[in-house]
Symmetry: C2
Subunit: 218 residues, 2 copies
């Protein structure tokens, strides 16, 4: 059974609640990541592989934001993560109060890492801090290299881009450089890790990025 | 030079303005389509091919919704379409008043067909009628077959799904039936046309759909 929370319209300031979430996570020594992307970028598949690779060495919680279904939450819970689903009831992004509610359903003291999988959307989630230590985005190579310029706020708000589905690059006739250049133009500080959640290529670099950031965060 | 309009926050009822847009388009005998999709589905490439195939037999206008750039508008204007860009200023969807403004910049009496390319987003555009005759969505096969269940409002609001990038189906190990079944579960009345904007496969069916609907609409 997956715990499902309905997102409520609230009047509290999102930023104040996000700061409170951040404090709670820091106090419990839980490193947290807000993962964002367009629909179909492979976010959930990356998350599944990550859970397979890091559990049981790490204890991991997942807050799953979804418009309408528990489909993704079921996929990650099957991997042994503490899972809470936030049903946004049609809303196009998570917000800090919804995450604050979900944090109450998790045993934070038992967790090393919390991944918040945001709603698939390259625009709306950007404006709502959740309190996570880092914002990471997933960009599928099938989306084309013009996305940074078209969705600049998203690319500027994240510290890391996982450029996924690299196994399809030869078929698409694209190379990684095209993506790296377009990303650098919009956010020169953004770190880029090419990955294929399908073949596993590059995924170890992502796991190491998480381990490094967790080590720094303690 | 592409005409660029900034989207304003307005207090008018979106639906009333959408009805007014619909009346204006009907009076000028312009058949109109609101195209929606996730980022990177290939909407603009489909549009480019469509303009190449149908101009000059038809006179076509394009209203291009984009968060921040004129990149897509430049692509379609180069194809000989009357083009107006709506810069949403970060907003995640077009609305009817923005489209009403753009209609003023088009020579409607000269147009046979108007394509409104909405902002790349599977959630927010659904709630804002623009006044177009038909809503069409593009779903790339790379996004996976679970999207109808995850974004049901979008799939229910459209009459046609162009399932794009079918050239990648063998590489992905997927077949069209998986997509058709998932779509039918959410919207049994939705028509599905598999296309590859890259190879041109299936595109003639889409052009014929447009011609048929235009003939009905007159």
């Amino acid at each position: 059974m997956i715990k499902v929370r309905l997102m409520q319209k609230v009047m509290e300031s999102n930023d104040a609640v996000a700061a409170e979430n951040a404090r709670k996570l820091r106090d419990a020594a839980v490193f947290s990541v807000d993962m964002m992307s367009a629909p179909g970028s492979g976010k959930t598949t990356i998350l599944e592989r990550t859970l397979d690779a890091l559990i049981p060495a790490l204890t991991i919680g997942v807050i799953q934001g979804d418009v309408d279904t528990t489909r993704d939450a079921e996929r990650v819970q099957a991997r042994g993560a503490q899972t809470v689903q936030i049903n946004t009831g049609g809303a196009c992004h998570l917000d800090a109060p919804a995450v604050a509610g979900a944090l109450e359903d998790l045993d934070l003291d038992a967790l090393d890492l919390l991944v918040i999988e945001n709603v698939g959307n390259l625009i709306c989630p950007t404006g709502f801090a959740l309190g996570a230590h880092e914002r990471v985005m997933v960009l599928s190579v099938t989306e084309g290299a013009d996305k940074p310029e078209k969705y600049p706020a998203m690319f500027r708000s994240c510290s890391l881009a996982l450029v996924n589905k690299t196994d399809l690059l030869p078929v698409l006739g694209l190379d990684l450089e095209a993506f790296a250049e377009e990303i650098a133009r919009v956010n020169p500080d953004m770190q880029i890790l090419p990955v294929s959640a399908l073949t596993g290529e590059g995924m170890e670099d992502w796991y190491q990025w998480l381990r490094d950031r967790m080590a720094e965060g303690q």
